[in-house]
Symmetry: C3
Subunit: 208 residues, 3 copies
């Protein structure tokens, strides 16, 4: 009940941190799955669960936004930030559900590298939104964003070499179709981390 | 001439209802086409025509928006709503023109199920925008939105089983490429129905 | 130093013209590459360079926007315009880097036709943003936009016949996958020219 007397504005940062934590957990599940090809179905189901929880956080955040008159950062930024954060976990879920759907039983090594990039990027995002609470240290937030940009470049490079190897080595065209989609969806997740970093950068610039 | 003295705000709901009616007609053509594989080319051409008409409605609506000072609902919502409604028919047209382009002569059963979902969803959208005129009954609009969310989930499930069957049964990789794209474009149309429902929900929340 | 006393508003049109010039150069490289299949890697690398420069222009423009209180045209339009202009060169770069990645050594004739459309469309965009400076002649800007819409339709028609021929003639499913993606990315670049024209049209309508 005390919560109702707390400054309402705190709520938005809580939503951001909550969805960041869910994203980290989903990326960790992805990494485990890509590492040992064991219990793929169970891990994919867990990622789907986390994705649903992230949807709920997003909806709650947007409802809170509609009911709040004064917001700690620009309304549009809150809306974009929560939506774009939710997009990351959506991409991870889309990629992993394809793994089950396409009956993939053996993971390819580049999926592990992409998962590692995503674990790192989601941790940087968590720190960035945490640091957003304290606008006195914008340089810390900027460092997180720069790290995310570098990780996105890394993800892009991994996708490229993954595709080169796939097209060179895989003779089964249907498997090419399947893996190309999985890789591209994972790389899209790293792109979406970059989009989140862009919004966060904008918030910091505006506040400075 | 009398029209000029009518409240200008009415116009926007007219645009929404007009584009909703065009969408329903396009989805019905899609359903007929998916049901009997007869006169595919003619039906696809008719959908293209409807898509052009929807473009015209969208342009007129946006021009009207630029010229209107006071709007019945938030300007940004009007802009997003008409654009996202137009996106639905664009996706239907994109899917069906692929059917002709790829010289598909035999429809697969799941395309019919996706068409049925789209017919239902477009009818819910028509009712939702109609009910938006009368903000006294927001619960009706909410019911329409919930129905659309359920239909989108249904569309997603159909896509999944369609892909599983396609990858299992179809040995011709080129046919896999063709049908995967057609299915995904149809499912994207249901996603876009959900996006429309999201905007409509937002309008209702804001008004309450 | 004199620059600081010049009206700040001039800056935004400079950014638009700069990115338009980079886009024209990238499209010309694409056309050369599609014409003679010589030095593909070198030209693709040059396009990547131009794409990075366009990114820098976009970032500078958005930073300037955050620091500018009074803008010559609507803030949102400046933001959308620079982002959507940057998207064009991104699509060209995405298409051409696939050419190298997929180890394509022989270009197909339709890639040349798409490149020609892109060269023409990017020139129209350059003229349109140049003409935006002088709002006294909105009809000129409108002519540029109409030309862009026609070019986008042309691009769409080329994509269609390219896909028909590809699916009919190419028996290697993996080559179908590769070229389908390259064509679609090139056609997406023409779509993005249309989106730029839409924003420019909106600016002209708002100013009239």
């Amino acid at each position: 009940m005390l919560g109702r007397f707390l400054p309402k504005e705190m709520g938005f940062f809580d939503f951001f941190e909550k969805i960041a934590a869910l994203t980290i957990e989903a990326c960790n599940e992805l990494l485990s799955l890509a590492t040992d090809s064991q219990n793929i179905a169970g891990r994919v189901a867990r990622i789907k669960e986390l994705e649903h929880q992230a949807d709920d956080v997003t909806h709650e955040c947007i409802e809170a936004l509609h009911k709040t008159f004064i917001t700690p950062i620009d309304r549009t930024d809150i809306h974009s930030l929560i939506k774009r954060m939710d997009d990351i976990i959506d991409s991870v879920d889309a990629a992993t559900s394809r793994i089950v759907l396409y009956e993939i039983t053996q993971m390819r090594s580049e999926s592990r590298s992409l998962a590692e990039v995503l674990v790192k990027a989601s941790r940087e995002i968590e720190q960035a939104v945490h640091n957003l609470r304290n606008m006195k240290h914008p340089e810390k937030v900027k460092e997180n964003c720069i790290a995310i940009y570098q990780l996105e470049n890394e993800g892009d490079a991994i996708l490229r070499s993954a595709l080169v190897r796939l097209f060179k080595e895989e003779k089964d065209a249907v498997l090419v179709i399947k893996w190309k989609e999985i890789y591209e969806r994972l790389e899209k997740a790293t792109d979406r981390c970059e989009q989140v970093a862009n919004i966060i950068s904008g918030v910091v610039i505006e506040a400075s």
